[in-house]
Symmetry: C2
Subunit: 651 residues, 2 copies
């Protein structure tokens, strides 16, 4: 196990330890630890990648059509006809966005999506804005998708309605745990339900279309009551606004498209290629399902309602009532809604690790746990989402359309960044390269076309975002508009802290002070004289001849005992007894130490040797005053002293 090997300089010794994490309950839950060198084996292919990264995007087909219909109801029955053209426009937008992200994936193969693109091409602030929007989005995805999945379950079994919060948290905990086992395992675990959903939806749409062309498909039997059906004839402007509103609602279908760009590093090599193909596959499935559902919804006259989802109406119309296949659709939809959270678990930890390594989030987020995943990020996401679930009592479904605003902000920023990038590429000569930026650039043909396509995409998504902000402002979009700048502020504060720290500790202009040669004053605070305090004294005597023991006298009786015992055991060491008429312990000691610090000569050091009792069982801590602990905490913030703890244990 130990392999000492002398290195080039005699003062370096290199050892390798195969020290594994201990076998405990954690290991049982998340699996055997992985070596850093195993990294390559933990990457995933296209099949698993689709299961991990598509579930969020695909789950939106479960409600996007309904969201459009819900707004169109404001224009009466005739309005419903617009659902199909609107869906076509949205799929067009999807195509633009996917093309952009395809470029991003190849341009930035180390992941980071909108954040990296913006950082590299637009500067820090847009990058942080994109990151903040995405992080909020990921958190909301988890709480909202799990809550809505649980809502589907409790509407089938109203008896467990009271259990919805613990149930939702159990789901979050389960997904958190699977993700702590690694992205590969989460993909494997959730591949079956994801592919099941895709299969059953294609089956439903396929049969639906067949029956439609057969003329054997009727309309929805016994449709649910629609709550806010418009009656009056709208003005042209109001109608345009309505269409815009319906369109923006439908764009929730695009949420989750950006996830792959953040998680490229999860893919097997050649990872850009693998990630890119997965993105295209995902977009194709998403677009087809969405268009299919919208088309069939119009043809079968499905209605938007809180009581029965459009998917449910479609399924029972296409499959002629609630049989086995209907049940499969419902179960598949519920499952994919919950699994949408899994995509967030793939994106959030990677993005936050990237922010952390740039110093915008706590550094702990870059730490990879025993399964090579960003454990702190995964656990944080699970915890914050659980808090939201508890606070909103798992009834956050109304937040569903909200977080799309954050996604569209990141779309806009990412595409603007790419447009800028192509512009800069175009400024280079074909042979020239640049390494000024974090990522090198070199001339590429067709830069102008790419710039225009990305620029157009940016404009489109920016418009959607604005429409969103206006139409949804009262429904809660303002929450995102507050949260995002707040998060950016926090990122900046954290960055300032790390920068200040790095400057403060830097060795750049560091003049090494001379070694300590002067007096070494040692102070030993003690409240009684026993084997533990004598052990501290024995250690102190090894350090220096200049030792002062200090006793803070609170009870005169105790002090008398200390004085007598010190006479016998103190070996002539000076004992200062400080009366404390107000029965304070820490404060008079600190005043005493401060006095000595003030009188200190340059190049002199002061060490406080604290006898520290360590109980054999942690519960026994409650039986002691923990003065050593309190003293240490106070002394740590006193510059100029070194704290030495001589622990003593009673077996």
């Amino acid at each position: 196990m130990i392999d000492p090997e002398d290195d080039k300089t005699s003062s370096f010794i290199h050892r390798t330890t195969k020290q594994e994490p201990p076998r405990n309950i954690r290991r049982f839950l998340i699996g055997r630890p992985l070596e850093t060198a195993d990294e390559a084996h933990q990457t995933i292919g296209k099949r698993v990648g689709l299961a991990v990264f598509a579930s969020d995007a695909l789950s939106s087909t479960a409600y996007a059509t309904q969201e459009i219909l819900g707004v169109l109801a404001g224009a009466g029955t005739l309005g419903f006809g617009y659902v199909f053209p609107i869906s076509l426009v949205i799929v067009g937008l999807l195509t633009i966005v996917v093309v952009s992200y395809e470029q991003i994936i190849h341009a930035y193969p180390n992941g980071g999506g909108a954040y990296i693109v913006a950082y590299d091409n637009l500067g820090r602030l847009p990058a942080l804005a994109a990151a903040a929007a995405l992080l909020v989005d990921y958190i909301l995805t988890v709480s909202v998708s799990v809550s809505s999945g649980v809502a589907q379950i409790t509407s089938a079994y109203p008896a467990i309605f009271e259990l919805r919060v613990p149930l939702a948290i159990a789901f979050v905990a389960f997904i958190t745990l699977i993700n702590l086992r690694g992205v590969k395992e989460s993909g494997a675990a959730f591949a079956i339900p994801s592919y099941f959903f895709i299969a059953i939806m294609f089956l439903m749409i396929g049969i639906g279309l067949l029956r439609l062309f057969n003329d054997s498909l009727g309309t929805v039997v016994d449709p649910p009551h629609v709550e806010h059906m418009g009656e009056a004839i709208l003005t042209q402007a109001a109608f345009a606004f309505l269409l815009l509103h319906a369109f923006s609602n439908g764009t929730t279908a695009l949420t989750g498209v950006e996830a792959i760009s953040n998680g490229i590093t999860a893919f097997r090599e050649p990872r850009s290629r693998n990630a890119g193909i997965t993105l295209i596959l995902m977009a194709f499935i998403l677009g087809t399902l969405f268009i299919g559902i919208s088309y069939l919804a119009r043809e079968t006259h499905a209605l938007p309602s809180e009581a029965e989802t459009v998917i449910s109406q479609l399924a029972r119309t296409i499959f002629d009532g609630p049989g086995i296949l209907y049940l499969c659709v419902i179960v598949g939809t519920t499952t994919i809604l919950i699994l949408a959270a899994n995509t967030a678990f793939a994106g959030f930890p990677r993005l936050s690790a990237m922010l952390a390594s740039d110093g915008f989030m706590p550094r702990q987020l870059t730490y990879r746990g025993s399964r090579l995943v960003y454990s702190y990020g995964i656990i944080s996401l699970g915890a914050i989402a659980s808090v939201l679930i508890v606070v909103f009592q798992a009834s956050v479904t109304r937040l569903i359309p909200l977080y799309a605003i954050g996604v569209f902000l990141s779309f806009t920023i990412a595409q603007s960044g790419m447009a800028r990038r192509w512009w800069r590429v175009g400024q280079l000569t074909p042979t020239e390269g640049t390494s000024k930026q974090r990522h090198e650039l070199s001339y590429e043909k067709g830069w102008s076309f790419k710039m225009i396509s990305n620029g157009f995409g940016a404009i489109c998504t920016a418009i959607v975002m604005l429409v969103f902000a206006v139409t949804k402002f009262h429904d809660g979009a303002w929450v995102v508009l507050i949260l995002t700048p707040l998060l950016i502020g926090i990122f900046m504060l954290i960055h300032r802290h790390y920068t200040k720290l790095a400057t403060g500790l830097s060795l750049e202009h560091y003049g090494e002070p001379p070694p300590y040669m002067g007096r070494h004053r040692v102070i030993v605070p003690l409240s009684s004289v026993h084997q533990g305090t004598l052990a501290a004294l024995r250690y102190a005597r090894r350090l220096s001849d200049d030792i002062t023991a200090v006793h803070i006298s609170i009870e005169p009786g105790d002090t008398e005992k200390v004085r007598k015992r010190w006479d016998k055991w103190g070996q002539g060491t000076r004992l200062v007894i400080v009366d404390s008429p107000y029965r304070l312990f820490i404060e008079p000691l600190l005043v005493y130490i401060d006095e000595i610090l003030t009188a200190r000569q340059a190049n002199e050091i002061i060490t406080i040797v604290v006898p520290h009792f360590v109980p054999s069982q942690p519960i026994h801590k409650t039986l002691h005053m923990q003065t050593a602990e309190m003293l240490r905490r106070e002394l740590l913030t006193t510059p100029g002293v070194v704290i030495t703890e001589v622990p003593y244990q009673i077996p």
Copy 2:
């Protein structure tokens, strides 16, 4: 402020500091700090003492009569006639108990009541049983009395029923705060409501009796409906059981009588005399009120009911309807119910401090805060009582009769102890003394009479306790029967811990080991090389020449940086780099240290010098891994190492 004064041995320096606790919000709330020497000024006289210690006992007059009538209702209307004779018997019992406690107060002027008496005369186990019963009693007194006071308020203002829990906790917090200001202040603050209650009750009873002899007192007009009125004629045995049950219910009037014996030290000198007179005064008032209320309740045909208290029925009968005086009675009763908690706050901290100084409870309980009161005890009592209020949602009134079982256990133990004491006194010759026990004994005349009176008292209270345990077992007396042994067990465990500690640290047979002369190995763990870690290295170089820096390599890139910098700044010090393929930090370091510990020679010391970053703001701690903290926690439990922290701060 500093007054160094050479003592008999040259190595002692005695200093006095007038270091006062800082001026902060705490000081604003609980008042200016008091010097230990001020102790005598914090004692109370008879007048304030009565207000502090009598409120618990007096508050029981608010419900004792009703408790008796409630049981007698089982025998039909005729049964109510027995309320007066039963009350007379109870007052007889009160007299016996008070005589015993009068003796205890004079025999044990340092307080401690049943606990001290039992410890001194019966042994440890009975002493702990009495203490456990009393501590449980004090806690229940606080939660129950405050809850029942709040219940009276919310029955008058049903609108605030929902606020009963926060309201009750606010009352507990208020009483806690006042008690933290000192017993003198709590007495002063609560004297007016206590004396108001006494005055208004005497007025009510006096007018009642006058009108009764005038024949102008009628019976209760429009009496409340009685819930469980008996109909059938009872067998003689059943009737006897009923009377016994009624009697035991009525003995709740005696709760709180023991409080003074635990709190003698609160009184001004001559404290036994002052405490004794206060006890007699209290017993007289209690007996008179109780007898008076029971007598008038019988004469006015007051009925036991959940809907209207007996006191309320009496007041509106005597004062001819609900006028100002009626209101005064109700307000006074509500106030005294809440103030009963104050007596517990006088007793609990003193009793627990006594147990703590004997090593049966955490030593912190002996600590007197800035106002010379046992702050930890007061805060603990307030906290535990608040938890009970939250758990039982302030509806703990049904626990009222429960805790009397604990009180009677302590009565029985205290009186048995006193009987035993007189017996031992009788065995001495008039000139002989003994100092074997904690308290000295000397011959006293009339010991046999005293022994018989205490013995008789013990038998009486034991019978009441048994009746209580039997008649109230199902109502929850079993809770006390479980809690008391559990608490005794905890006391014993705590005592074992302290005893083991004292033995382990004792200097009795301690052979001082020779001073450290051997090698002083110093290990400096570091994760990067910067000003902070170089400061630790600089300190380490002062300690020893035998320094090893250890770097646990998690990220190869970081390690390369460490190696390069060490080459420049390490001053030739040996650096051991330990590869950690599983990205563990603490574990490989501990393994390395363990290896060195195993190879250690006798008389060699090993010091771990840990560079410890101290953020200027506590919130910044969240931005760091806290590895220094984790390492220290692990090392503290590793015998044989000394931990030195070299703190570094960034201003």
